[in-house]
């Protein structure tokens, strides 16, 4: 995935997959801390209204996003590899975050969400595009992580 900060979506009959990647000038530990501190999300991430619960292996969270502010998504943390991979999801789909440290000390952040299933074609048109929200998410994460690293402490 080219880390341009631009989202791409692949549409199939029974699924849809949206991805975004961006290079962040910060250590993976900072990005990981931002991605796993549930209560702090709304402070820096303009696509998230709230996350209740603890982002930890096997734990459940309740997420409300700007894409569907009236819905609370009950999700489970399915993979949790510190500073590398975080996956949460439900029966409909999974969102995967991956962090890769590059040789220059920066971090490549990638986020992919795949939704689908046998009944997906019936609902596909009702589910809004994730592209803009994904780009916003990646941009907010980059801005926050870089401002932490460059803060004059």
């Amino acid at each position: 995935m080219v880390p341009t900060g631009k989202a791409t979506t692949i549409r199939r009959t029974f699924s849809r997959e949206t991805s975004v990647g961006i290079e962040i000038e910060a250590d993976p530990s900072i990005i990981w801390a931002l991605l796993t501190n549930a209560a702090d999300f709304p402070r820096w991430n303009s696509t998230v209204l709230s996350i209740d619960g603890t982002i930890a292996p096997g734990k459940g969270i309740a997420l409300v996003s700007t894409l569907a502010p009236k819905r609370t998504f009950k999700l489970k943390v399915k993979e949790f590899l510190p500073e590398t991979t975080l996956v949460w999801g439900d029966a409909m789909g999974k969102r995967r975050y991956t962090l890769t440290k590059n040789t220059g000390g920066n971090t490549l952040f990638a986020m992919t969400e795949k939704i689908g299933g046998p009944l997906f074609p019936l609902f596909a048109k009702m589910i809004p595009s994730f592209d803009k929200a994904f780009e916003q998410f990646a941009g907010d994460l980059k801005k926050e992580a870089e401002s932490i690293l460059n803060a004059n402490y």
Binding site: A26, I30, D40, R43, S147, I148, L149, A151, Y153
Partner: protein
């Protein structure tokens, strides 16, 4: 390091260690125990001190570890702690009776607004996750560098920056929403209310302009106001200040109220 050198270093740092631990635990009894334990641990580990850091940093690291162990199983306070504690104090006639007694008889029983600002920060900072609270205290109050805090907390500089950034942001937002000293719409007026009780002859507005934080409130940005608040706190030792006895009594009250509140609150 010899035991004589350690004794000297400990004596030099002990005042700051006491206030630091008090600000983390909000308990005088725990503070006394933990300062004592810090000394014992330091003497035990004296041979492992390799001068990779200053003795002060090393002592703060020992104290921080002990304080973290002490607090690990306890829940964090809530950001509106002062509202809950006020309600409890108002329904407890004994609290004000004791406070008035301290005010009337103790040489450290004065009520000073700047000391209340420091007290208030101690209480509210206990609503932050522990690492954020501790990092913020070490940086803003005890003036350690990020690299030294990383040594004290056995973490990375990147993570310490994260704790500082997040902790500062949260505290700035809480004070911006609550503190009537810096914002007209602020919902917390406890400084002026308590000043009215303990210093009825004082004019609050005349007193408040003596404090740079309040003086600059109308013109300065939120970040700068937070820095000014930290300046107030740096200038106060909660054990030796003019208002120490009164504020420690108040802190003890808030701690008990919070412990009860958190027991009942399912979280």
């Amino acid at each position: 390091m010899t035991i004589e050198q350690l004794t000297k270093e400990f004596e030099q740092a002990s005042g700051q260690l006491r206030s630091y631990i008090l600000r983390i635990t909000a308990s005088v009894a725990d503070t006394e125990d933990l300062v004592h334990d810090t000394w014992l641990k330091a003497t035990e580990k004296i041979d492992s001190f390799r001068e990779q850091s200053s003795a002060r940093t090393w002592l703060f690291a020992i104290a921080s570890n002990l304080a973290k162990d002490n607090l690990r199983a306890r829940r964090r306070w809530v950001s509106h702690v002062t509202d809950i504690a006020k309600e409890a104090a108002l329904s407890d006639p004994g609290f004000f009776r004791e406070a008035m007694q301290i005010h009337a008889t103790s040489p450290q029983g004065q009520f000073e607004i700047k000391e209340h600002i420091a007290f208030c920060f101690t209480c509210i900072a206990k609503s932050l996750p522990l690492e954020q609270q501790v990092s913020l205290l070490l940086k803003e109050v005890y003036e350690f560098k990020v690299g030294e805090i990383a040594q004290i907390l056995d973490s990375t500089e990147a993570m310490i920056k994260y704790y500082l950034h997040t902790g500062r942001s949260k505290m700035i937002s809480i004070f911006d929403g609550r503190c009537a000293l810096i914002k007209k719409e602020g919902i917390c007026h406890q400084c002026s209310e308590l000043n009215g009780i303990f210093n009825p002859k004082q004019r609050f507005q005349e007193e408040i302009v003596k404090i740079e934080l309040a003086r600059e409130a109308a013109t300065a940005g939120k970040e700068h106001l937070f820095d000014l608040r930290m300046k107030v706190i740096r200038g106060i030792d909660p054990f030796t200040s003019n208002a120490a006895a009164l504020q420690l009594h108040h802190l003890e009250q808030n701690r008990k109220v919070m412990e009860k509140y958190l027991e009942k609150d399912p979280g």
